[in-house]
Symmetry: C2
Subunit: 332 residues, 2 copies
Amino acid sequence: MLQTIPKKEDEFEIIESYFKGLTAQDGVFLGIGDDAAILDISATPKHQLVVATDTLVENIHFPSSAVSYQIAQRALCVNLSDIAAMGAIPRWFTLSLSLPRKLANNSWLKGFSSGLAEVADEFKCSLIGGDTTSGALSISITMLGEVPPGSAITRGGANDGDFIYVSGALGDGAAALSVIQGNEIKHKIDSERLLSRFYRPEPKIEFGQKLRDVASACIDISDGLVADLEHICRSSGVSANVNTSDVPIKDDVRSQWGGNCVKWALFGGDDYHLCFTVPEHLTEIVDSWSADGLSDLKKIGRMTRCNDGVPQVFLDGAAVVQQNKGFDHFGG
Amino acid sequence: MLQTIPKKEDEFEIIESYFKGLTAQDGVFLGIGDDAAILDISATPKHQLVVATDTLVENIHFPSSAVSYQIAQRALCVNLSDIAAMGAIPRWFTLSLSLPRKLANNSWLKGFSSGLAEVADEFKCSLIGGDTTSGALSISITMLGEVPPGSAITRGGANDGDFIYVSGALGDGAAALSVIQGNEIKHKIDSERLLSRFYRPEPKIEFGQKLRDVASACIDISDGLVADLEHICRSSGVSANVNTSDVPIKDDVRSQWGGNCVKWALFGGDDYHLCFTVPEHLTEIVDSWSADGLSDLKKIGRMTRCNDGVPQVFLDGAAVVQQNKGFDHFGG
């Protein structure tokens, strides 16, 4: 039997009360509150539209201990990270919020909408519409961005000989999960930094736009360096070799978790740094950025010809064995 | 504790195997398979972009007995209906599919993707991206459409004296639910028509575009005539009076359910017809359409001045009482 449909009035009130304030007017001809939003794309006719969708489900993408403010920030940042990986500029987003009735209260919704508003404000993107429904807690965001025609960075442009970079230290995401899951901590560790890496990953929006002039391919690291680099390999038709000792890892993570931290940096995911490839003649530009405060930016390997027809990732020259690819970093 | 993150490979395979074929090339610079899709909006610079989002959750928006083919069609049609209500042309959509592991099999996914493909093909819109995740069954679609600048029909343009129309017979959606829920059927009834009204509501895309020249306001009837007309009232700042005897109801529904069917037509929802208002001097045009095969198109009332400051819906001159507004049409 179907349950009672949530009353339209309730949904209307939720949208009116908590989300309507998030619609800025920049390019928004009609915002929240109609059957659809209307955007003035004709105001920016010399752009392509970039569209990314990401869904977060409770107990899969965040623990049930997370507060609504954190959940909202993570949901929006994860979507912004996809826009960053394309070298695009975020503009507008829709929100689909599925919410158990017990959470449809002022405290939860206020936390959620203020978390959303903070990130939206920082990255200058507006909520233009969406819907709320009863159901298991799940947040689906579709983010719209813009990019000058032909300048988006895809996964498919890497060539044999291009150098592989990451925009910062890896393994923080998996280390944060270990902390969230209550695993014992033996050494002094910056847990605030780690938790904020998980709940409020920093989308590399400005850095992504910088990469448009130098990167041949780019992806954001959500599933783990090896898994995501493999997507670049498949899309580009070349293989990759990573020098594992060059993969940047924060000192506190290394001293706390020792051996695990390298696995986490390679397979752990949730870091939301960018992994990108750069043709040799442009590496000088990227290397010079390291001196400009991007100290964690690191060259970690090189794309190689795909000899046997299967594009794949090698670690220090050795193919990644299947069991490592499927390494279950949240097995606790 | 967090569950194991679904393996990236699984998601990649699902998208590759079942959904990649749904990306047409019309305006799609880069489709499924990267961090984001890229659209060539510069090819249609004289349009505004229309964006609608709708989520369907199992046991709330469809029963667990529904097959995947039906669920996909309903999910896409419901979103297309929002685009129709704006008078817009559907172009592209993203899909966020949350799926319990037991349904992540070939049979379920094949049914789902073929249902989606059929509707997408009919309405000439392409799947451009999305994501799949483990979780309770839920489908969130964001639909992008286009409309010539300033010509979209919103909820907010109705004026005192405008006539109210509906594009077809109401009450079918609620009657269909009654059949789905296994309630006894005493008379001969076209249950195939009813079930298809529920699982494959007909988005009024062409009709919506026709309305751009005549309608002052428009909404699609998803929550029930009174609830949706009330949205027009609130947005436009005028009240509405409906002549209940003019509300069109199919003969088989009327003979089967007698008294209930009027309640269903007024409060039942899930009909996905358009409710729209037309200034008096343009009604002749709309009335002439009735002769052109749109036989269920019906004038059902008139917008009235909002005397006491609260825009509301009247039925045969009487205000709708609160308990009727909240009429629980799925209470079984």
